[in-house]
């Protein structure tokens, strides 16, 4: 495939849940090595869009291509045919996904979580897979926690294991759905640091997040969604500092207010502790 071709190309993506339309024709392109942050108020359809890329939901309309291959369907003689399960699994195996609530396998240790898919999906020899898993756990700063069960790890540690687990499949694309919103504030930094490293190493990433500073520093492009449409997109500087649309402005103002309120709450608590 040519270098010019986008890794992800979504055209007019539409999604209905029953009678409600939650995505009204999303267009988005993500190029290799690019980090795209999806912002938008809760309920705007960010999660749904990510899940459509990974076929955890089925498309109502539009098309998504990853690496030039149509996701979920095959076009034969002018008609779309639904792909077989095995084919869908193969397409998914090239896309890593990190969930808001980690979704580690609780009956497996951190190491076993990371080893599972390479061994059972890609047929990597267990000894090699374990070696590779240790390297990845080291990469996310958890070499010492390899033999711990998820219940023995903090939220931040669990999320880092989840990132290592996704990386173990050597994906060409990583999807993050609010990876830090289930974390206590003091644990957010360690997860963002791992994601920052990944971005620096050239991973293609689509990140749904409310962490404005992460979006500003790491994203190549910021996409603002509201009510199932892309309202505006552009360089982080432009969208976050000089938003053109009223809805983007209102959203950013609200986020800023919330951040401020949180800071005030924390300093008030600190003061109380001081007394």
């Amino acid at each position: 495939m040519s270098e010019q071709q986008p890794l992800v190309r979504a055209v007019n993506v539409i999604k209905d849940f029953g009678a409600t339309r939650v995505l009204h024709g999303i267009d988005l392109e993500v190029h290799r090595g690019e980090v795209v942050c999806l912002l938008g108020p809760s309920g705007s359809g960010k999660t749904t869009f990510l899940r459509l890329i990974n076929q955890l939901e089925s498309l109502t309309g539009g098309r998504i291509w990853v690496d030039g291959e149509l996701i979920g369907f095959e076009e034969r003689r002018g008609r779309l045919h639904v792909r077989k399960d095995a084919d869908i699994a193969r397409q998914r195996s090239r896309i890593g996904m990190v969930f808001q609530r980690f979704n580690l396998f609780p009956h497996m240790t951190a190491l076993e979580n990371v080893v599972e898919a390479p061994v059972h999906v890609r047929g990597v020899r267990p000894s090699r897979a374990r070696e590779e898993a240790r390297r990845l756990l080291d990469l996310v700063g958890l070499a010492e926690r390899a033999d711990f069960y998820p219940s023995q790890l903090s939220g931040g540690q669990q999320q880092r294991v989840a990132i290592a687990r996704a990386l173990a499949m050597e994906p060409e694309l990583m999807l993050f759905d609010e990876p830090t919103s289930a974390l206590d504030p003091e644990l957010v930094g360690e997860v963002l640091a791992v994601m920052r490293d990944l971005a620096r190493d050239g991973m293609t990433m689509v990140v749904v997040t409310h962490e404005m500073s992460f979006a500003r520093e790491v994203a190549d492009r910021v996409v603002f969604m509201d009510a199932g449409v892309v309202v505006e997109e552009g360089a982080p500087e432009q969208v976050l500092r000089r938003p053109r649309h009223e809805r983007t402005q209102a959203f950013l103002a609200r986020v800023r207010r919330e951040e401020q309120a949180a800071e005030e709450r924390i300093s008030a608590e600190l003061e109380q502790l001081g007394e």
Binding site: L56, A89, R92, H107
Partner: protein, 304 residues
């Protein structure tokens, strides 16, 4: 105040270690006394009443046909009946939860039928099912006689013919009957176990590219086990006890049947019942220990 100083550790004003008088439970002591009397009565009954005939109980338990029956009819049938029953139940549960309406329907009808028929009735019916197949049960092309007739040919297209009377009496029929009925119960248990596993687990596995069956086997079922195991332990004990119904097939190499026939030969009907009770108690105790071990094993990662 003076009270404060008496509870605190000498001299300091801050309260010290707790040394409180526990709540008294006078009724417990009454209960203990009542139970002690009942136990004494029981021991007296066990030791003094000659009808027990303890030496005969032990002798009966030691008879070769009884021990053979214990291993084949009781233990082996329980183990195999349960193994196939659990496998069938999990299969039925997966079918019930599948997207395929045909599989869902088949699983539902199966469960409906086998839950409705009492085990004893099922076993007796199986034993008598030879009536339906006077020419035996054959493996081959279905409706071969229709096809052969239509083509104007002779003979049959059957490769192997089994005598239905022999097939469903004896060990095979016993295991078949127990497993068939157990699968229907295990299906419900397995289904609730599978449903107890968070959807996020399946999604995480799918996102890693794990196909459905692998996800079920490696991710969902091991976690469902925590919910499935306790009721399955009960099913296993129930199955053990239900082997005493195998006489309906009839399967004669079975412990309870053998003990009863000793009882009726020797007119010692009561001691052989005691012998059977003792055996069931022993096996059930062993099973309970095994179940506790399994539950710990599949509880891994739940509580550190």
């Amino acid at each position: 105040m003076s009270e404060q100083s008496s509870t605190g550790s000498a001299g300091t004003e801050r309260p010290g270690l707790i040394d409180a008088v526990p709540v008294r439970h006078p009724w417990r002591w009454v209960a203990v006394a009542v139970i002690a009397v009942l136990v004494a009565m029981l021991v007296n009954l066990l030791v003094r009443n000659p009808a027990w005939n303890w030496p005969f109980v032990l002798e009966a338990m030691n008879q070769t046909p009884v021990i053979r029956g214990l291993f084949f009819g009781t233990l082996l049938c329980t183990a195999l009946g349960m193994a196939f029953g659990v496998a069938g139940g999990v299969l039925l549960a997966v079918m019930r939860l599948s997207d395929n309406p045909v599989l869902r329907g088949v699983a539902w009808v199966y469960t409906w039928f086998f839950r409705a028929v009492p085990r004893y009735v099922l076993l007796v019916t199986l034993g008598a099912i030879g009536v339906l197949f006077p020419d035996g049960i054959s493996l081959g092309v279905p409706f071969d006689w229709v096809i052969i007739d239509a083509l104007g040919l002779q003979g049959d297209w059957r490769f192997l013919t089994l005598d239905a009377n022999q097939l469903f009496t004896g060990l095979f029929g016993a295991v078949f009957g127990l497993a068939a009925s157990e699968a229907a119960y295990m299906a419900e248990i397995a289904r609730s176990g599978i449903l107890s596993v968070d959807r996020g687990q399946t999604e995480a596995a799918q996102a890693l590219g794990m196909p459905r069956r692998l996800t079920m086997r490696r991710i969902v079922l091991p976690q469902a086990m925590r919910v499935i195991l306790p009721p399955t332990g009960n099913e296993l004990v129930a199955m053990l006890k239900d082997t005493s119904l195998l006489v309906g097939i009839p399967l004669t190499i079975e412990m309870f049947f053998q003990l009863q026939s000793i009882g009726s030969r020797t007119y010692q009907t009561f001691p052989v019942l005691v012998a059977a009770t003792l055996y069931y108690l022993i096996i059930t105790s062993v099973l309970m220990a095994g179940q506790a071990w399994l539950e710990r094993r599949f509880g891994r990662g739940v509580r550190a």
